[in-house]
């Protein structure tokens, strides 16, 4: 039975393998809409989607907005700088006020890990976590899974290396959980200062040196060096990071033949990824962006589609 029994999408941990498969299949059926001349279907007409972005975002926000509009939902954007939160209103207060206007879905981006979980308990609209602190970014992991499946034909049994600042990366966390659920083998890589203590308990292999980490891998996932976020102690300079941990054609040549290279964007070209690699045929970075719209359409549809039982709705 294809039933999506969730009120919210908070993290990858909540999804079963069949949930993930259902999302990927649903995205597949929506993908075609984006290539039509008239890119709009009436599926979610009359539904309201609030994009509540408490942190800067271009890609994810635009992607959700396009997804909602292609399904004919009404969208409304709220950022922290334009909201009363700058006047000292708490997150819960703001959300309760939003709730009073009866939206169907709140897509939340927030700098604090767990912020969507806090709201999920307090309000009745569905919450989609569009990135919370260093915790998770489930829609990104889902679009990554979709892209991997599209390019490699499967996920089960693949070997994936995730390279970069694992400590601060919500993309890495969501992908580790999602990839493992779908049967892939995950290796994480990066300077020891960016690998969380005790992360091996999640069942990942740790290979600090990227040149070794990519050996025999089917998928190389690089992460953005968050120049705006990282404290000074994690690496001494951009130049040094790029020299020792950046991915270039030489590193990539050690991966399995036909390996794909991914990045959640925006890329710091020449830092974590050389521009040659970005332009090479193995790069699927722009496919990730296109697939993001389809995945988000699927999520909005499944959460609003009325296929969830009343029991879990409460």
């Amino acid at each position: 039975m294809n039933v999506f029994n969730h009120k919210n999408l908070l993290d990858m941990g909540q999804l079963s393998v069949s949930d993930i498969n259902l999302i990927l299949q649903t995205a597949e059926s929506f993908k075609e809409i984006s290539s039509r001349d008239i890119k709009k279907v009436p599926t979610l007409r009359g539904k309201t989607v609030v994009l509540f972005f408490h942190e800067p975002s271009t890609r994810t926000k635009t992607s959700f907005e396009i997804a909602a509009k292609r399904l004919s939902a009404d969208t409304f954007s709220l950022s922290s700088s334009g909201s009363s939160m700058v006047k000292g209103e708490t997150l819960i207060d703001t959300a309760k006020n939003l709730q009073a206007m009866n939206p169907d879905i709140i897509v939340l981006r927030h700098s604090s890990s767990g912020a969507p979980h806090l709201l999920a308990d307090k309000i009745s609209a569905s919450i989609i976590n569009a990135g919370d602190g260093s915790h998770e970014h489930p829609s990104q992991a889902l679009l990554d899974l979709y892209t991997i499946k599209e390019k490699k034909g499967r996920i089960d049994g693949l070997k994936v290396a995730i390279i970069g600042d694992i400590s601060h990366s919500r993309v890495a966390r969501s992908n580790i959980i999602g990839l493992q659920k779908m049967g892939a083998e995950v290796t994480i890589s990066g300077p020891p200062t960016m690998i969380p203590h005790d992360i091996s308990e999640l069942g990942v292999a740790i290979v600090n040196n990227p040149s070794e980490a990519v050996l025999n891998k089917d998928v190389i996932m690089t992460l953005r060096v968050q120049l705006e976020r990282q404290s000074k102690t994690l690496f001494p300079s951009i130049k040094e990071y790029s020299n020792y941990f950046g991915i270039n054609e030489k590193t990539l040549s050690r991966a399995k033949e036909g390996a794909i290279i991914m990045h959640p964007g925006p890329v710091n070209w020449g830092v974590e990824l050389s521009s040659q690699v970005g332009d090479s045929p193995c790069s699927v970075i722009l496919d990730q962006v296109s697939n993001g719209v389809a995945i988000r359409m699927a999520l909005l549809y499944l959460l609003l589609g009325g296929v969830r039982s009343e029991e879990t709705a409460n």
Partner: protein
């Protein structure tokens, strides 16, 4: 009128045994610890209080409490904190100086004591700050603070970062016979962290507080105590490495004592999952291995004292994003049942456990209490070992309700509390307050 407590099981914290004794109280003092029935139960000038089936402990003493007055009376007042303490079986509480203003001068110490006298139903022992404004820079007037009634010194909440200042504090406090209670935390390692750094923090994406941030400072303070020969008391020990360091120090004869809190032997970092801000504490809840090490430290006598670190916070400071939430939980009303779990698990005998939360802190702070014998003040806690109940928010007497134990089933409960022979708090109408 004289009082005779009959048919109770008396906990002897000196000889570490349980005795079937009756207690005669007169004029606020214990006049006799008598064999069962040695004094006839029906005499005109004696009020007999039958507590059969219950235990009599010396009034519990909590050497680590935050009362929030002056400055944050919306979280807790001296009055409400004392009430919560009495309900939990405590007759004495030492209050930490991180008030607003900080208790860094005799005026604040005197204010606390005068409020306690007017409104508090248990004994309040102020702990003054080590440095002015708890800023870690200039020593407070230890002599003057002692004269005003302070029993100890601590910059609790913040460590004294500068080792030279900590050294001088230990030396100068020793001269004034004041106990220095050290909050051990290397804030360069812990800053920005919100929970234990380990597998759970890695999974849920919360910046961690590593065990070493506590252990490094404990090791420093042990070195200072060894070098100066002056005692230091380590607050809220939470890690296996800390227990190990203190164990080695004690074996070498270094004058160090230590406390832990009930949550550190009851919960581990998994309690934070789901971003439960009521499990956000500093030091943080650690791993199951740390919990075991804390229990072993209690059993072996490495950890001398159990103190609650009762830290009331308004719900607005807890119903927020996890990394925005305040650190700390309340503990006065849950300490006894959680400590009784140690007895049920065989970690400590009942007298050993009670000693760690009465006589031992009294000795470390140099205050009265913790013992039931002739000539002592009749400060007592009468409790039921086996009563089970679910902790409900509305039953909490503290002004704040920030505890991870709401909804939990607790076993063992204080029935009434006596100070100088008067029942100051009771949950049973059979034993009415005076």
């Amino acid at each position: 009128m004289k009082k005779l407590l009959i048919n109770g099981e008396l906990i002897n914290t000196e000889r570490l045994i349980i005795e079937q004794k009756d207690i005669l109280i007169d004029g606020g003092y214990i006049k006799g610890v008598l064999d069962r029935g040695a004094l006839p139960y029906k005499q005109e000038d004696i009020q007999c209080i039958d507590i059969s089936g219950r235990f009599i402990a010396p009034g519990l003493i909590d050497m680590h409490v935050h009362l929030r007055e002056p400055g944050a009376e919306y979280k807790e007042t001296i009055e409400s904190g004392c009430l919560a303490a009495a309900a939990g079986g405590f007759t004495g509480i030492a209050c930490m100086p991180n008030t607003e203003p900080a208790n860094d001068n005799s005026t604040v110490t005197e204010f606390i004591l005068s409020q306690a006298k007017k409104r508090g139903i248990v004994r309040v022992y102020p702990v003054a700050s080590i440095t002015v404004g708890r800023n870690g820079l200039n020593l407070t007037e230890f002599g003057e603070l002692k004269r005003a009634g302070a029993v100890g010194l601590s910059d609790d909440g913040s460590p004294v970062k500068n080792s030279e200042i900590m050294r001088r504090a230990l030396e100068y406090a020793w001269y004034h016979k004041l106990t220095v209670i050290s909050h051990c935390e290397d804030t360069d390692l812990s800053n920005g962290g919100h929970m234990h750094e380990g597998s759970i923090s890695a999974r849920i994406g919360i910046k961690g507080i590593p065990s070493i941030s506590e252990e490094i400072m404990i090791k420093r303070d042990i070195s200072l105590a060894e070098f100066t020969g002056c005692p230091v008391h380590i607050a809220h020990v939470s890690t296996e490495g800390s227990v190990h360091a203190i164990r080695l120090a004690k074996e070498k004869g270094i004058p160090v004592t230590a406390e832990t809190a009930p949550h550190y032997f009851t919960l581990d970092h998994s309690a934070v999952q789901g971003y439960n801000t009521n499990a956000k504490i500093n030091p943080p809840l650690r791993t199951p291995a740390d919990v075991q090490a804390i229990k072993k430290g209690l059993k072996d006598g490495v950890i001398d004292v159990i103190a609650t670190d009762h830290a009331p916070h308004h719900m607005l400071a807890k119903e927020v994003e996890f990394d925005q939430a305040a650190f700390g939980i309340i503990g006065l009303e849950t300490a006894l049942p959680l400590c009784l779990n140690l007895v049920r698990e065989g970690v400590l005998s009942l007298p050993q456990m009670i000693k760690k939360i009465s006589l031992q802190p009294a000795i470390i702070l140099g205050i009265q209490g913790g013992i039931i014998k002739e000539g002592e003040k009749a400060d007592l806690a009468i409790f039921d070992m086996d009563e089970e109940y679910i902790l409900r928010k509305d039953d909490i007497l503290s002004k704040s309700r920030n505890t991870p134990f709401i909804g939990a089933t607790l076993k063992g409960r204080n029935i009434f509390t006596m100070i100088e022979g008067k029942i100051v708090w009771s949950r049973d109408s059979k034993y009415p307050c005076c």
